[in-house]
């Protein structure tokens, strides 16, 4: 369980990136954080594993304050995949890269190999195991960075914009990874600008604007017509299906099938 109480983060240059956030993320929940560029999403999640420390307020992991704990210790609880894979990948070989995290957490020999193989399977890079990461394209490097967090087997996985740069197949892959983590009872926090991915893969959506949480609920609640004004205020547009669904009286999270059915049946 992650608990954020009255969190404020001010960067040394005076930027107030997070400005009073209260948030409670239960074990096994999957939540998406959305909001315009610069609204403080990345800054918020970097507090979950202690990379950033609160200017004011508290962050608790499983009831324990992060304040006294080192990042290397928190890493066993919260795995965080960064926005930019190229600031993470260092190894000359894909498998070595994936093994880095779990090795740091103390996994050795057979257990380590298993963790690496499973993570590579999950992102579809099994065949690429012996290659140099920099021979992979950007989207595959992004998946590799994701795999190296998955391999750590942390109870909580935080993904900063996992679908950026992915084609349909890549997005589908990420969606399946989230579903698998959910099935295994692990907590997932994902930052995303892809509203379709958010609405379809996450039962809970948190909307940020200017360092604060302005909406928090199921996709159905958050993308409801009453909130469209608030969403526009943080440059979020509900996916097309939500907007059409609301107009057709199907609610803000219709399934594709229901939507098509209703559109076909519409007179003239």
């Amino acid at each position: 369980m992650i608990e954020v109480r009255g969190l404020v983060h001010v960067y040394p240059d005076g930027t107030r990136a997070v400005d009073g956030v209260h948030l409670r993320i239960g074990d096994g929940e999957q939540i998406a954080i959305i909001g315009q560029n610069g609204s403080g999403k990345s800054t918020l999640v970097r507090h979950f594993n202690g990379l950033l420390r609160p200017t004011l307020g508290d962050v608790l992991i499983d009831g324990q304050l992060t304040a006294g704990l080192r990042v290397a210790a928190l890493a066993a609880n919260v795995g965080l995949a960064f926005q930019d894979p190229d600031r993470q990948i260092f190894a000359g070989q894909v498998r070595t890269e994936v093994a880095f995290g779990p090795h740091n957490l103390g996994l050795r020999s057979a257990a380590l190999e298993t963790a690496v193989t499973k993570a590579l399977d999950a992102v579809g890079l099994t065949e690429q195991g012996e290659r140099n990461p920099y021979d992979l394209g950007f989207s595959n490097r992004k998946l590799l960075a994701l795999a190296s967090i998955l391999a750590m087997g942390t109870p909580t996985v935080v993904l900063d914009e996992p679908t950026t740069g992915q084609d349909l197949r890549g997005v589908e892959r990420v969606r399946r990874i989230v579903a698998d983590l959910a099935a295994a009872g692990r907590t997932v926090v994902a930052i995303s600008h892809d509203m379709r991915f958010v609405a379809e893969a996450f039962p809970r959506v948190v909307v940020m604007r200017a360092g604060r949480v302005i909406l928090d609920g199921t996709p159905g609640e958050v993308f409801a017509e009453a909130n469209w004004g608030a969403l526009a205020g943080t440059y979020v547009e509900p996916q097309l299906a939500s907007r059409v669904g609301v107009r057709l009286g199907l609610g803000s999270t219709p399934t594709d099938a229901a939507l098509i059915e209703a559109l076909v049946k519409r007179p003239g």
Binding site: V71, A72, A75, F82, D86, I89, F90, F100
Partner: protein, 237 residues
């Protein structure tokens, strides 16, 4: 320009006088430009180096026999102390001169000036890119280190542990810097960087007769002294 001259002077000349003069010039510049606060970190940064110089020279200067103090197996020598004092002054004068240069000369001014003086724009770009790269590299290093700590890299503890911890940081730093260079080159070409026309500078540079004279004088003195040192007219200790 003044700062660069003093840096060169401090480095070339030995003895007491030159570095002290250089320090005075540096001090005057800092005071005139009101740089006091920004300057402090640079002064502090030279301290570890200074301490090691003093320790090594005072106790281990080869061939010195004029012992002034004995601590266990170590003998402090008078010669060593003098050398250490001079070396420290030189280092401080050099480092602070470079710091003044960095603090007082906006990159844009330096580059525009170089180009106005007829330096090729490729050379100008390389110098500019090199200077601008430093803060970007620093920011990048922070992020790279963060992402490895997030994967459980322990950067605290024994020396060996910390040295090993550097390995996963080097790769992303270098590859990132290289790919950035490539991207910048492409972006530049797309904006007609190598087109043959001469460019108009958009910003006029303040420059009066006194400034010019001072600069020439210092530059001349620097060259004379460097030549003298190299050709052996001024003895190196």
């Amino acid at each position: 320009m003044i700062a660069l001259s003093t840096a060169a002077l401090a480095f070339v000349l030995r003895g007491w006088l030159a570095p002290i003069l250089a320090l005075i010039v540096v001090g005057a510049t800092v005071a005139r430009a009101g740089l006091g606060r920004a300057f402090l970190p640079f002064v502090l940064a030279t301290l570890p180096l200074l301490i090691s110089i003093v320790l090594i020279d005072v106790f281990l200067y080869p061939g010195a026999t004029d012992t002034i103090m004995v601590i266990g197996p170590l003998r402090a020598t008078g010669t060593g102390l003098t050398i250490a004092g001079q070396a420290s002054l030189r280092i401080v004068a050099f480092a602070l001169s470079v710091a003044v240069f960095a603090l007082t000369t906006p990159t844009d001014d330096l580059l525009a000036d170089l180009e106005r003086r007829g330096m090729g724009r490729r050379a100008t770009f390389i110098i500019g890119a090199a200077i601008q790269t430093i803060p970007r590299l620093a920011a990048r290093a922070g992020e790279v280190a963060d992402s490895q700590r997030a994967r459980g890299l322990n950067t605290e503890g024994s020396v060996w542990r910390r040295v090993r911890g550097v390995v996963p940081l080097v790769g992303p730093m270098i590859s990132g810097a290289l790919s950035e260079v490539e991207e910048r080159t492409l972006a530049l070409e797309a904006r007609a960087f190598s087109a043959p026309a001469r460019r108009a500078l958009l910003r006029p540079m303040p420059d009066d007769a006194a400034q010019r004279a001072g600069r020439w004088l210092l530059g001349l003195a620097t060259i004379v002294l460097i030549v003298a040192t190299i050709s052996g007219h001024l003895a190196l200790p």
